[in-house]
Symmetry: C2
């Protein structure tokens, strides 16, 4: 099959690789109808994570079940499914505690930017739609495989509550989905920190009541002013860099929680402030499966349209251009059609 | 008055200093009937915090109100009061959110190991007993000024819940109070990590169901075994060192929270594990005033007796010996009688 592979920093290729096959009775193979590029794919692309030369890359996709293992009960060929980036049996003690991303039988989608993807623990991991979805819904369904669930997790981890004020640090696809999540979860005021006009516009469509374009101390001062000097009731850190984390803690009010979902890179936590002001940190790799049924319902009912984060659609053949566009911030998020 | 002063690492003296006086209308002066030495006093004692030569030291005490400022409404001379180590107006937005330790008018007890202590924001900070307490209750009341409330905060921050498993890292007075708190908050299993037999005994009296004497990886393995390989539902980190924090995160189950109350010294958080396993960090400087009314009731009713952590009582004159005894771990916590 054709699949995206990475060979070195900035060396993305569409290659011919072996099509995944069922090896465990709990596996499924999904024919990808839409995949996409994640902000976290840019870490290896930029050489900030190790690269295994020739490895497939891409962990987000939706598609149609092609084949299932002998123990898969809930899916059959032809089902349209959302594939969470992390797979889980949804029955172990960690799954039952709502941390499906730490499942005892954890797996990951390894070829989301390809023609086919293998899903381990298919019954526990995937969620199917009621029949084939309208093409217009596909971007929003695709967003559920990672970014929307991840933004939602940031909001839940940060303890967003009805009537409160939430600040979202980061205007990538996850940050924008975090704005949408905070708004859906009832925050009265959602402050998006974003410098980029097209992203600010999506943030507003997703429910941001205020946008702070300034960064660093200036941005922190702007949030302080917007919150009457008190700070935010909940802060969503959706980047993973040290600067973003510092801003998150700087704008969080005493006693609040920073919900973090950006894979941390070079982060040094401000422990003194955390201790002195009782500001907690919660979150991590999103347990996508936990949120999927609820999020699917919200997409199908039209309550949310996270697919708006896709501002560039390319044929899979042009995946390398997709990476360039995201790296240069010409695109927020790229949808790939195999 | 006679007050404990610190002049350099390991140089503790009883000195003659000016008796505190009312300078703000919200102040009160308390005649100390019992003070004590805190584990955190050992940081400057051991030279791990800066020392301001000649400064008074000691932030925990109970006593009798000597004098109040013109705006103090809730107290009058003769009242027996518990003095939280951190003072607050108990009305600002941070206090109302339950973070009295981050009060806009924050203050600290500066001469708890002395004859008199000044309390700023007296109305907001102090809690009085119903008449003069029996002498037998004084150690437990004194524990409420810091360690018991701090242990309680660790348990609350860690999210201890009825029926769950809690691990307490640290067998100092705060750790032992954390055991008591976890037990009171309904944890079915409370695992105390302690190597020292006299402390293990108090831990058991405070409700520990299991004691793990091993430390480091061996101790972590022992907790893993006790929790069926799952990890603890809540972990109380009551030390503040890097080793204690690592152990806390190692024994915490995915999705749980480490409640931390030990002033962090040289701590590097295991961010990769926190992210991958969704283990949060919450807590910080305890909002003593928030818990005081409840804790006072528990002490008076006999439900808790945190005063058991005091295993050495000395006249204030012997305060230097008290520091030595705690530094050498000959005493868990020293009560000082002026």
């Amino acid at each position: 099959m054709r699949a995206t592979t990475i060979h070195a920093p900035r060396d993305i290729r569409l290659s011919e690789v072996a099509t995944p096959t069922i090896t465990a009775p709990t596996d499924a193979v999904v024919k990808v109808t839409a995949g996409c590029i994640c902000g976290s794919d840019l870490w290896p692309y930029r050489g900030e994570n190790d690269v295994e030369a020739g490895a497939t890359i891409g962990h987000e996709c939706v598609g149609v079940v092609e084949e299932v293992g002998s123990e898969v009960r809930s899916f059959r060929p032809g089902d349209f499914v959302i594939v969470p980036f992390c797979h889980c049996d949804n029955t172990c003690e960690h799954c039952r505690a709502g941390v499906q991303s730490a499942c005892r039988q954890q797996g990951f989608t390894a070829s989301g930017q390809a023609e086919y993807a293998l899903v381990t623990q298919a019954d526990g991991s995937m969620v199917k739609t009621d029949g084939m979805p309208d093409a217009s819904l596909v971007p929003s369904l695709l967003a559920l495989s990672d970014v929307m669930a991840t933004g939602w997790h940031a909001a839940v981890a940060a303890g967003v509550r009805e009537g409160g004020t939430a600040v979202v640090v980061g205007d990538g696809a996850v940050g924008l989905c975090g704005v949408l999540a905070a708004s859906q979860l009832g925050a009265e005021r959602v402050i998006a920190m974003s410098r980029h006009e097209p992203r600010q516009e999506i943030a507003r469509r997703f429910g941001a009541t205020d946008v702070v374009a300034a960064r660093g101390e200036e941005g922190e001062a702007a949030v302080a002013e917007l919150t009457g000097g008190v700070g935010a009731d909940a802060v969503l850190e959706c980047v993973g860099t040290d600067g973003a984390m510092r801003t998150a803690f700087a704008v969080a009010r005493p006693g609040s929680t920073v919900g973090f979902v950006g894979v941390p890179h070079g982060v040094e936590l401000p422990l003194r402030r955390m201790f002195g002001k009782n500001i907690g940190l919660a979150g991590g790799m999103a347990p996508v499966r936990r949120y999927l049924p609820d999020l699917l319902e919200r997409v199908v009912s039209g309550a949310i349209d996270p697919g708006l984060v896709f501002d560039l659609t390319l044929p899979l053949d042009d995946v390398a251009e997709g990476y360039r566009a995201m790296d240069e911030r010409r695109a927020i998020k790229v949808l790939l059609e195999p």
